[in-house]
């Protein structure tokens, strides 16, 4: 922000403040029109019995959609899938991402292949990742089963049994998102002053001790940011299971975001779909709150 001295010196006149408002306005208008207004709409629509095919306005039913959602087995299952995916893939991606970041931080002559290996999973679209891993885990021609056979194990019909399909989606999500975590942690690693390691070295700290007492504590802020963004995107998981398993077998890998899509765009039940969208929004709001509070303090 602007320093108090400048503010009082008159360097920032009224015209500057007006220019500032004018420059922010397009962003505000677009966000209000395309995000805030839709949010108002889902809160509104969630109180109605409303179908996309209806011409007439829907019937006001209060919180009945939400009460129904509490008892809906599909909703409960989708909640568990979403929660399970979040609780497994977020720590998983954090550990794998930390390892990748540490490896990426090694001073190595061939940086370009390593950078490519770190960046490629991150830029790869989620839907591509889903398809690639569906092929990986294919029962007959997948490379994973080929490896299992070569090691003398029976092949597994990964995408055909509920438990294994969930496992396969977990692997794909963890792989795809660990590279994002690594990219957040890597600059954090690079800002740790070398002198701290040298000091720890003089005191006879082992590599492991240096990692625990120097690297990890100084990396905490970057880890927190990575965790919040990762958790937020895990709650919204849609593309990977959609492209990989279509939510199946049965509904074993159907997340809440997928259920919102199915209920709204396939069953065309806008009222009920909106109430599920409200639940999804509230979940992601709760997760992003710590980050927003942190951001509010730092600006």
């Amino acid at each position: 922000m602007i320093s108090p001295r400048l503010r009082h010196s008159g360097a920032l006149g009224r015209s500057d403040r007006l220019l500032g408002l004018a420059l922010v306005t397009p962003a505000v208008i677009l966000l209000v029109a395309l995000v805030a207004w839709p949010l108002v709409r889902i809160f509104h629509d969630s109180l109605f019995a409303l179908r996309l095919t209806d011409q007439a306005p829907g019937l006001f039913i209060g919180l009945e959609n939400f009460l129904y959602a509490l008892e809906d087995r599909d909703v409960r299952r989708a909640m568990w899938v979403t929660l399970g995916l979040t609780l497994i893939t977020v720590p998983g991606a954090l550990v794998l991402g930390l390892l990748l970041a540490l490896a990426g931080n090694i001073n190595f002559r061939w940086r370009w292949p390593i950078r490519l290996a770190l960046l490629l999973p991150w830029v790869l679209p989620m839907s591509f990742t889903g398809m690639i891993f569906a092929w990986f885990f294919n029962s007959d021609y997948g490379v994973i089963n080929d490896l299992l056979r070569r090691m003398g194990y029976q092949p597994v019909a990964f995408l055909l049994s509920p438990g294994w399909a969930f496992f396969s989606v977990v692997v794909a999500v963890t792989w795809k998102t660990s590279s994002f975590v690594a990219l957040i942690l890597l600059p954090g690693l690079q800002t740790i002053p070398q002198s701290l390691y040298e000091a720890a070295n003089l005191e006879g700290a082992s590599r492991w001790q240096r990692f625990c007492h120097v690297t990890l504590p100084l990396l905490i802020p970057a880890i927190v940011v990575a965790l919040i963004f990762r958790t937020l995107s895990a709650v919204q998981t849609f593309d990977i299971p959609y492209a990989m398993t279509q939510g199946g077998p049965g509904q074993a890998t159907q997340t809440l975001a997928m259920l919102v899509n199915t209920v709204s765009m396939e069953y065309l039940d806008i009222g009920y779909g909106s109430s599920l969208a409200v639940l999804l929004f509230l979940m992601s709001l709760i997760i992003s709150l710590p980050y927003l509070v942190h951001l509010r303090r730092s600006v």
Binding site: L21, I114, W122, S127, V260, R296
Partner: protein
Amino acid sequence: MSNTQKTRQFFSNVFASKALLWLIVALVLINGLFPVMWIFLTSLKTEIELTATPITWLPQQASLVNYQQAFSEQPLLLFLGNSLAIAFLSALLALVISIGAAYAFARLALPKAGLLLVGLIALAMCPPATLQVPLFEMMRSLGLLNTWLALILPNAVLSLPVCILVLVAFFKSLPESLEHAAMLDGCSRLSALWRIVLPLSLPGVITAGTLAFVNAWDEFLLALVLNAAPENRTLPVGILFYQGEFTFPWPLISAALIVGIVPLVVLIAFSQQRLVGNLTAGGMKG
């Protein structure tokens, strides 16, 4: 020496060795590149070779016939063009809007600036799945369904906060005296932004633009809902249509995936050095 000390000693010796370094590098390369490599190898195999057991790792007779067929069976070139245009225009729109907003936040005392910035970011962290129905109805009533614009607008908006955060950090890192000097020479604020600030923060602009491009290239759910017409499909949605009801032509799908990955590799080659360092400035989506 106690047992735990011995173990630690052993591990620190191992970690110090060159062999382990090579092992780590190899694991990182395999982890990052093998899945895409595997799809590439698949794309060179024929359907007959693909259904042979045990499976072959390297294609016996590598051929590009799948690529030819991938382009002829579905309008892959059209999907590619749609994706490129939509991602590029989304990034451009996001950049134009966020450069102005970020400059206002960095330099021009906005009332309640902190609250405003956090509010904008809070909005854009909203899951696309919650917005799909209202956006569908909005685009339908505006007559924008199945147009590029229906995707460009939300893509740009959802990238705004990341772009704004990256650019605010960049603008703040430049000394304000530069603009004051330019303004003493008769420049207005805006022309100082255009002539002095922007050229100096080019790395930040490239980073923000890349982030917005990647977000738009990746976007799938809204593309599925708002843009289902064949002639406007983006790549992630278009690739779904190679599947028949009971058929799954993996060599064709693999070829199409590789075609969709090539622009990303070009993007990495172009901006990797800036990207790795500048990404955290704004935080981003995973």
